[in-house]
């Protein structure tokens, strides 16, 4: 215990002696947490629409009016040439082209059937799909209006109608920030924690002080605890700042309890710091440590379920996510913050995280050798 006291005192002194690093690792996450959640919005709006109107009829104008007044679309081009409109898509001036063929009105009225052509920039498949779906719904609505105009008998007798009602539970206003802010917080916490630990130890290797430590009778786990505890406390501090920002700036109040978040976070940080230790034992210099942690971070973050849903990943990628601590924490944050889950609801995740913590730290302690 006494050894640990001296180790801790030394670590804290070193951390506070370099305020530039301390400022950096506090300010960077805060700024990002303040800015980035505003960018996260998958909802498709402001779709750029180019219209090719070859009919120039009353109906075609009505249809265009109806589309632009829906709020989803911005009319960026109105022309009589399909080629010109495709050029707009090439230049990213349009996402969708609606072509109204000549004689549209005439065919609809005389032959009971008319055709519209829609071309979509489908590079972003989801955006294309949703944009096209909105457009089709508007056209269908317009179609119904025309029918009621022409057909006198009551409409419900002819058209079957299934009414769909929607409920969005846990986040009825579909506020993306409730979902992104805790997620971004988790990612920042992970990056800061892993990097700090990894680089700190590698630095001692580079300077040569670790050899001086290795020649003392110090116990391996003492040394490692001496490194873990300060960064663990630091991580909890960053978490507290992050949760305060979530509360004050984004008005996010967890439906679950803070205790649940902190219990899980405490365990999570142990696992993540253990990973940092592990990276440091396998790196000879700071550059290697950074590249290794960058590689792992990128996998952890992009396969963490925050940006794209884990359910839609291929089987092997889902398998990777099971070994991804970030995905568990994001899941837990979402459960506690939005659904009010309690400790007993997340006992599986707690168990897994405990496993990670033991595994990473155990491996780090075993592979840290005082003699080569």
């Amino acid at each position: 215990m006494r050894t640990l006291k001296f180790l801790l005192r030394k670590e804290f002194r070193q951390i506070f002696r370099d305020p530039s690093i301390l400022r950096l690792i506090l300010i960077m996450p805060v700024i990002q947490l303040l800015i980035l959640p505003w960018a996260a919005d998958y909802e498709i709006k402001n779709i750029k629409l180019a219209v090719v109107d070859l009919d120039h009829s009353e109906y075609s104008r009505q249809l265009i009016n109806k589309i632009t007044s829906s709020g989803y679309f911005i009319l960026t081009d109105y022309s009589s040439s399909y080629e010109q409109s495709l050029g707009k898509i090439e230049h990213d001036k349009a996402d969708l082209v609606l072509q109204i063929p000549g004689h549209f009105e005439k065919e609809l009225v005389k032959e009971d059937e008319a055709k519209l052509f829609i071309a979509v920039n489908a590079i972003n498949g989801v955006k294309a799909n949703l944009g096209a779906a909105y457009l089709r719904t508007i056209i269908q609505d317009y179609n119904s209006e025309i029918r009621t105009e022409w057909i006198q008998f009551p409409r419900f007798s002819a058209e079957t109608h299934i009414e769909v009602t929607y409920s969005n539970w846990f986040n009825p206003l579909m506020n993306y920030k409730y979902f992104m802010v805790p997620g971004i917080l988790v990612i920042l916490l992970t990056m800061v924690g892993t990097n700090l630990t990894a680089i700190n130890i590698v630095k001692e290797k580079e300077i040569g002080t670790i050899e001086q430590i290795n020649v003392t009778p110090i116990k391996k786990y003492h040394f490692i605890l001496g490194k873990l505890i300060p960064f663990w406390l630091f991580g909890l501090f960053v978490l507290t700042i992050g949760l305060s920002i979530a509360r004050l700036v984004y008005g996010i109040i967890p439906s679950g309890s803070f205790i649940t978040i902190y219990v899980f976070a405490a365990l999570y940080l142990l696992a993540v710091l253990g990973l940092g230790l592990l990276i440091s034992t396998y790196s000879a210099n700071q550059q290697q440590a950074m590249l290794l942690s960058f590689f792992l971070m990128m996998i952890f973050i992009l396969l963490g379920g925050l940006y794209t849903s884990i359910d839609s990943m291929p089987e092997w990628a889902k398998w990777i996510t099971r070994f991804n601590p970030v995905s568990y924490f994001i899941e837990v944050m979402r459960m506690v913050v939005l659904k009010g889950s309690t400790l007993s609801d997340i006992k599986y995740q707690l168990l897994v995280m405990g496993g990670f913590a033991v595994f990473f730290n155990g491996w780090a302690i075993i592979s840290y050798r005082k003699r080569g």
Partner: protein, 248 residues
């Protein structure tokens, strides 16, 4: 510690793949001795020393330090030794006092001991005013003397010094050796590697390593006699000329 031997080595060997860094060396070091370990760069001095300190596992042979086996009891050895590596290894972002407190603490010394010893050392080194300065602000010579003081802060039986005076001016070197003598007088055995031949003259006994083997081991005066040389420099040149291994 029979017969006053504090270090014994028998056929001690270290291989890195095909390369034999230390080739079956055998020697004893007596209590209170200043044992000089000489050799050209790359002769295997540092590797041999690292094995004795428990930083590197020997490939074969036998060795004890302070009565403990280097293979099995390396953690026990560490309680009895001090070590000063070639690389400067105090924390530059801690103050002089903080470094002493830290190293004293991890050797399980009491607060009172640490305090008294710190005051004592700062006095000895005339660094009382610099106690609260960051180590990185001190000149190299002072840092080296400080590193030595920290290496023997916990009063070990043996202290290992790996080329402790590299890059230091002659005056400071002289002072440094005075500190080594004082330590030896207090009964601390000193095991020191160097390639300054004038320093070899200060040692009780020296061994000269060439290509991983010990080619000669005796008191400086006896060595000069054996090799009919006027100085240790000459002794060394005669032996080192046989080397085939390139210096690094």
């Amino acid at each position: 510690m029979s017969n006053g031997k504090v270090i014994t080595a028998e056929q001690l060997t270290k291989r890195f793949g095909d390369f034999v860094a230390v080739d079956h060396i055998s020697f004893d070091v007596m209590k209170g001795e200043i044992f000089g370990f000489l050799g050209a760069n790359g002769a295997g001095k540092t590797t041999a020393m690292r094995m004795l300190c428990g930083l590197s596992l020997p490939t074969s042979g036998k060795a004890t330090v302070a009565g403990f086996d280097v293979f099995k009891e390396n953690e026990k050895i560490k309680k009895s030794i001090g070590y000063m590596s070639q690389k400067f290894s105090l924390y530059e972002d801690l103050t002089v006092k903080e470094n002493m407190e830290f190293y004293g603490g991890i050797y399980h010394k009491s607060d009172k001991f640490i305090k008294e010893k710190t005051t004592f050392i700062l006095n000895e080194l005339h660094l009382t005013k610099e106690g609260n300065k960051l180590v990185k602000s001190l000149p190299l010579g002072w840092k080296q003397k400080l590193a030595f003081s920290v290496a023997i802060f916990h009063e070990p039986e043996i202290v290992f010094l790996d080329e402790p005076t590299g890059g230091v001016d002659p005056v400071t070197r002289r002072e440094f050796w005075n500190m080594i003598y004082q330590a030896a007088d207090r009964g601390i055995t000193v095991f020191v590697t160097t390639h300054y031949m004038d320093e070899a003259e200060y040692c009780s006994r020296v061994s000269i390593m060439v290509d991983g083997r010990i080619e000669a081991l005796d008191t400086p005066s006896q060595l000069k006699k054996t090799y009919e040389a006027a100085s240790m420099d000459e002794v060394f040149l005669r032996l080192a000329r046989k080397a085939v291994r390139a210096a690094d």
